[in-house]
């Protein structure tokens, strides 16, 4: 399999605080990769660097072999990178449908008729169809998270970046979400998923990377990573030697 997304030596610092430290990893076409790490480790920052919401200080980011490090966020989205925001960023005075429509017409570049069709289809899959005509500002937090996913999907991404969308869901909702993401993957979309709900993550991803203090400290098969000393140390506070 060939790489669709590639980070090589990507770094970012705000003054003395290093938020991304020489990060390198690749995502293969059709692959789903999970990202874990403690709060404040720099996971969302890494997404911001990939999507162009933040500019990297050093390093190269490639999409399908093309260097996109200097591209503005909008161009990266149109090239196929879509994300959901950890803290939802709805267009509050527009309806749920219109939120999705923006992504379909701008991010995916669809005509109005094509966009209508795609939006209805995606909203049905994410369970927001009944809320289509509701202003996004009136949604609950969980619905806003689903709107984040819907919008990202309407941009027709080749790489989908998901930032903590499973938190706070009931068992049943979580199961439905896992199924939705698996379905998305079936359509050939490559996925990077930051998630604290580890069992949801493990149900979908083929590979895990662990980030701490802006650095990638471990990478590998999910089961092996979860058993590794590095993860146990971070999550359980165990001394690696113990």
């Amino acid at each position: 399999m060939s790489a669709i997304l590639e980070l090589n030596g990507v770094s970012k610092a705000f003054g003395a605080v290093v938020v991304a430290d020489d990060q390198s990893w690749t995502l293969d076409k059709g692959e789903a990769m999970g990202v874990i790490g403690p709060n404040g480790a720099g996971k969302t920052t890494m997404f911001n660097l990939v999507t162009g919401n933040l500019a990297a200080d050093a390093g190269v980011i490639r999409l399908n072999g093309e260097t996109i490090s200097k591209w503005p966020a909008a161009r990266r989205c149109r090239a196929g990178i879509a994300r959901s925001f950890q803290v939802p960023q709805p267009f509050a005075h527009m309806t749920v449908f219109e939120n999705a429509y923006v992504a379909a017409t701008q991010g995916a570049g669809l005509s109005s008729v094509q966009a209508d069709k795609l939006c209805l289809d995606v909203l049905e899959r994410t369970g927001l169809l009944e809320k289509s005509n509701v202003k996004a500002g009136g949604l609950t937090l969980l619905e806003r998270k689903r709107l984040e996913l819907s919008r990202a999907l309407c941009a027709k991404p080749s790489v989908l970046l998901l930032d903590e969308i499973a938190g706070g869901l009931t068992e049943h909702e979580c199961h439905a979400l896992i199924q939705t993401i698996k379905d998305v993957r079936e359509t050939g979309v490559s996925i990077v998923w930051i998630e604290h709900v580890v069992h949801a993550l493990l149900a979908v991803v083929d590979r895990l990377i662990v980030i701490d203090f802006g650095k990638k400290i471990a990478e590998g098969a999910p089961e092996a990573i979860m058993q590794s000393d590095a993860v146990r140390e971070i999550y359980l506070g165990l001394d690696a030697d113990a």
Partner: protein, 338 residues
Amino acid sequence: MSTLTVTRRTRLSTVVLILLAPILIALIAAPWWAGRADLRLMGEIALYMSLATLWNLLAGYAGLVSVGQQAYVGLGGYLFFALTMLAGIDPYVALPLAALAGAVIAAPVAVLIFRLRGAYFAIGTWVMAEVFRLSFAQVSALGGGSGTSLSASIVRGMADGRAAREAMAWWLALGVAVLVIGAVVLFLRSRQGVALTAIRDNEVAARSLGIDIWRSKFIVYVVVGGLTTLVGCLIFLQKLRISPDAAFSVNDWTAFVIFIVVIGGIGTIEGPIIGTLVFFALRETMADLGTLYLIALGLVAIVIMLKAPRGLWGFLRDRYNIEIFPLSRRVTGLNKGA
């Protein structure tokens, strides 16, 4: 589920659309039923409605809070006088030409002032307008600081007789108002317009969904600049006299316009229209009171900002969920009861 469709129509918008044609015909026929003073007042209302609609697109949708739109009103006035009197161009050709020139001039201005954000942007637009004012005050061919009058031959050349001229001035004003409001409605309904609305709500998300924010705002600024220039032409065609202070008056062409948009409802199509009607209703009933009139304007603004911060139309819309101009895309056929 196969019955789901996406539509913009609401019952109210259909009713308004049906009413629109007879209203428009009645307005076109105004020279036959309205007095001279009324016709002049209606012309002024139409031009203010255009200015307010344009400023609303700029500030309410693109987030470009300009306090310097008098730059384009004045530019329009001066360009119209210069093109007709100095270059000898036919007035009816000069109007679109001036609008085009206004847009061309707005482009480099946008590149310059878009480097400024928020309050600095607002101040920057005002400084720009002052630069325009001082520049035109230097042109001695147009009367320098004391200004000039539109020569009688040009005015006479536009239509035969006084009544015909006044009718023509009204039709031009009405035509521009219809053009401006229609263009803004069509633009906001387009994919580009929906993108602009998204920018209004959340720039971070808009950027991440593929919207080129700078480009969207640039297009809006340039088009608004061109159309404001056109409105400026007609304002001074009606006044027949121009001077730098009147042409680039921040009070007349920006402060009143902001008042209109804010009390009517910023970020809505209907707001500037309703705001203009309220503004003129206040002016016509209270203008004799002198200073008291300005105090009343201030009071109205304060009360509305406190009681209905989204303006009169914003208040009605939020309360009754109505829309005269159909912009929202609604999904119909959802099984609500089931």
